[in-house]
Symmetry: C2
DNA sequence: TTGTATGCGTTATCAT
DNA sequence: ATGATAACGCATACAA
C-alpha cells in the first residue's frame, strides 16, 4: 500500500507528517457522491443508501447519526440520473401541450406544475406548436428520458403515440382532449353542461340566431363535444322557443375574411332577430372580437358573444366579455394528482373527472345598447 | 453452457427442436439497449457506441451497415439517463421562471422551448410563482438532474443560487433580469430606449403629468432600470417642455384602493394638464385598466396609458392599448441560442444582448375623446 | 444490522 | 478497425 504509483506525482517529500494517501479529496466543486458520504461516515455505500431509502429498517442510532452528519457536511443529494437508471423511474413527468400560446394550456400548465413540485416531481415540457405530427416525437423524447408518466393536452391525432406510452406501462392522463378509446385517466370540463350554460344564457338574454364558432374541429374531442352539444341544444330547444336557430362555423387562423363573411351572413339570416356567437375558446373569441372591430359592430348590441375561457382581460374588452370560465388551475392540479396517485401504485380502471364550468355574464351578452366605456 | 441453471425454469422438455437458450428475448415492451443492438448485429457494444458517437473514426462499411439495420430493426435509441450518468451532461436545459402567469414569461418560454427543441435539448421547467425564496430550491433541483445549463428569468434575490450554478461550470443566461455582478450572458430589451419610446410618445401626444407604475421594485433589475430611465427622462426633458412633471408608484397585487388613490391624485396634480401612465408590464397595465374602470374614466381622454408588453388583447381594450412591444419570441430564441453556443464550447466573456422595443400606438394615448367602440 | 458484489445502459480506455 | 472491460452513481440481493 505504500509504494504505489501516483500518476503525475513526483516523489518530492515535503514537511508533511503523514502523507495521507487518500484519492484526491474530491475535485473542488464536483457533487458529492454516495461513496464520498460513505467514506466520510466510515460506513459502506449500502448503509448510506439504506439510510436514504429505508429509514424503517432500523439502523444503529450511532451509525445513522454519523451518516446524517456526513450527508450534511458534504451537502450530498442523490443523483436522480443514477437513481433513474437503477430504478427505472425518474421522478419526472412529461407534459405535452398542443399550444403554449393558448391561455387555457398555460393555465393548466400552471396548476399541474404546482402540484408536481409539491409532490417532488419535476416537469419536462414539450410544446407541439399546434403541429400534431410532432406528437409522437414528443412522446418518444419524453419516454427516452424515463419520465414516469404523461400529462397530455394534445390533438390526439396520432393516437398510437400516446397509446404506446401507456403500453410501456407509463400512466397517462389526458386533459381536455380525450384520445380515441385509450386506457387513461381523463380530466376535463363538462363540455355539454358548459355549452348549455352559455347557450341558455344567450337565449334568455333574447338572442335567437346563434352561431357556434370553433377552431377546425378535426378530431379534437373537446371541439366535437362542444359543437355537438350546441347542435343538440338548438334542436332540443327550438320547438319551445320561437325563432330559435343555430349554425356552426370553423374558423382558421389565416382566413379573417371568411369569418367576417360568416358573421355578416349570420346577421342577415337573423332578419331582425338578435344574433349571437358562442366561441369555443379564448383564441377564437379574440378572432371574433377582431372581426367585429373590423365590421364596426358593438359587442352585445349588434352581436352577442359568449366565449369559452375566462381570462384576465375578459372584463375589459368592450362592455366586458361574457365567458364560460373553466377551473383551469383545478384541472391542472387534478391531472397531476391523478398521475401521481397512479405513480404511487393506485390501480383502478381509468377514471373520468368532469368539472363544471361557470358562466360569467358581462356586457357582451346584453342586447341593450350599453354605455361604451369600461366596466367590470 | 448447456446445463446452466435457469432460475424458475423447470426442465420440462417440449417438442422444440433446438432449445435456443438465449436469455429471454427481451421482455415484450422494454426499450432496446445497446447490448440488444450489439447482439442483433453480431458486434460488440463498443462498436455500436462508436457507430453512434464517432462516425468519423472509420468503421468497415459492412459492419456499419449491419449496425444500422439492427438499430432500425429494434427501434433503438440511446438512453439519455445512462448517457447523462456517463458523460455528465444530459441534453437538458433548466428554465426557471418567476411567474408563468406573466405573459412576458410565457412568450419567452415559447421562444426558448422552440430553439431548444430544434437543437435537440429538452426543457425542464420550474416556476417560482413569484416566490423568490424558492429560487435556490429550483436551482438545486435542476442541477441534481444534471441540466447542462440554465435560462433564468427570476427575481435574482437569491443571487448566490445562480452564482453557484455558474460555479459548477454550468452556463447560465439571464433573461430580462440581471443578477448582481454575475458571470453570465444576459438577454433583454433595451429598457432605457423602451421607456423613452413610451414617454416621448406620451409627451408628443400632449400629456404632461406622467406617472410610472410598476410592480414593487425590490431589487429586480429591469424594474429599476425602467424606473430610473423614466426619472431621468423627466428631469432631462423638463427644462424644454413646459409643465412636464413625473412621479412613480409601486403597485401591489392586493392594494387596488392604493392604486385608485394614486391615479386620482395624479389627475389632481395635473390641474388641467393632461395626465398619463406608463405601466411597467402587462400585469400592471391590467391593474391600471381595472382601476380606470372602477373610476369610470375613459382611456386616452381622461388618462393616457402606454404599457410595456404587447399582447393579443391589447388592440381590443377600450380604444386600443398603446404598448411597448418586446420581441419576446426573439428574446427566448436568443437566450436559448446563447446557452447552446456555450454548451458547444464557445468560450467568451459574458455577453449582453439588448434588443430594442417597438412602440405600438393606439387609442389609449390620444387625448381627443375617441369613439368608444372597438378599433384595431 | 451491516458490508460485498452486481447490474442499470453508456462511453472510454485499453488491448488486440 | 474491433472487442473486452472498467467506470459513471446508485440500489439491492445476498453473504456475514
Amino acid at each position: 500500500m505504500n509504494t504505489q504509483k501516483l500518476p503525475g506525482s513526483t516523489t518530492l517529500t515535503l514537511s508533511m507528517p503523514t502523507p495521507k494517501i487518500k484519492p484526491p479529496p474530491a475535485p473542488p466543486h464536483a457533487r458529492a457522491t454516495i461513496a464520498d458520504v460513505a467514506r466520510e461516515a466510515g460506513v459502506s455505500k449500502a448503509t448510506v443508501s439504506r439510510f436514504l431509502n429505508h429509514r424503517d429498517t432500523l439502523l444503529t442510532p450511532d451509525i445513522a447519526a454519523r451518516v446524517e452528519v456526513a450527508i450534511a457536511a458534504l451537502a450530498y443529494s442523490p443523483s436522480p440520473m443514477a437513481q433513474g437508471l437503477k430504478r427505472g423511474r425518474s421522478r419526472l413527468i412529461g407534459l405535452v401541450v398542443a399550444d403554449v400560446t393558448n391561455p387555457f394550456s398555460v393555465a393548466v400548465l400552471r396548476g399541474a406544475e404546482k402540484a408536481c413540485q409539491q409532490a417532488g416531481y419535476l416537469l419536462m415540457l414539450f410544446n407541439l406548436g399546434n403541429d400534431s405530427r410532432r406528437e409522437s416525437e414528443a412522446i418518444k423524447a419524453l419516454t427516452a428520458y424515463q419520465v414516469d408518466g404523461f400529462i397530455l393536452n394534445t390533438l390526439g391525432g396520432d393516437a398510437g403515440a400516446a397509446a404506446e406510452a401507456a403500453r410501456h406501462g407509463k400512466p397517462v392522463v389526458l386533459v381536455d382532449r380525450r384520445h380515441h378509446d385509450m386506457q387513461a385517466d381523463f380530466v376535463s370540463i363538462d363540455n355539454v353542461g358548459a355549452v348549455l350554460l352559455g347557450a341558455r344564457h344567450l337565449v334568455e338574454a333574447g338572442y335567437r340566431e346563434l352561431l357556434f364558432v370553433s377552431e377546425p374541429i378535426k378530431n379534437v374531442s373537446s371541439r366535437m363535444e362542444r359543437e355537438a352539444a350546441f347542435r343538440s341544444f338548438v334542436s332540443d330547444a327550438a320547438p319551445d322557443i320561437a325563432g330559435l336557430h343555430g349554425s356552426t362555423f370553423e374558423c382558421t387562423d389565416d382566413d379573417s375574411a371568411g369569418l367576417d363573411k360568416a358573421l355578416q351572413s349570420l346577421r342577415q339570416r337573423a332578419e331582425g332577430r338578435l344574433s349571437a356567437v358562442i366561441s369555443s375558446n379564448a383564441v377564437v373569441t379574440l378572432r371574433v372580437v377582431a372581426a367585429m372591430a373590423r365590421l364596426g359592430w358593438r359587442l352585445g348590441a349588434d352581436l352577442g358573444l359568449v366565449g369559452f375561457d375566462e381570462t384576465e382581460w375578459s372584463p375589459f374588452i368592450g362592455p366586458g366579455l361574457s365567458s364560460i370560465a373553466q377551473p383551469t388551475d383545478e384541472l391542472g392540479r387534478l391531472a397531476a394528482g391523478c398521475l401521481i396517485e397512479r405513480l404511487k401504485g393506485l390501480d383502478l380502471p381509468p377514471r373520468q373527472i368532469l368539472l363544471s364550468g361557470r358562466l360569467v355574464a358581462r356586457g357582451s351578452s346584453v342586447p341593450q345598447a350599453s354605455p361604451v366605456n369600461l366596466q367590470t
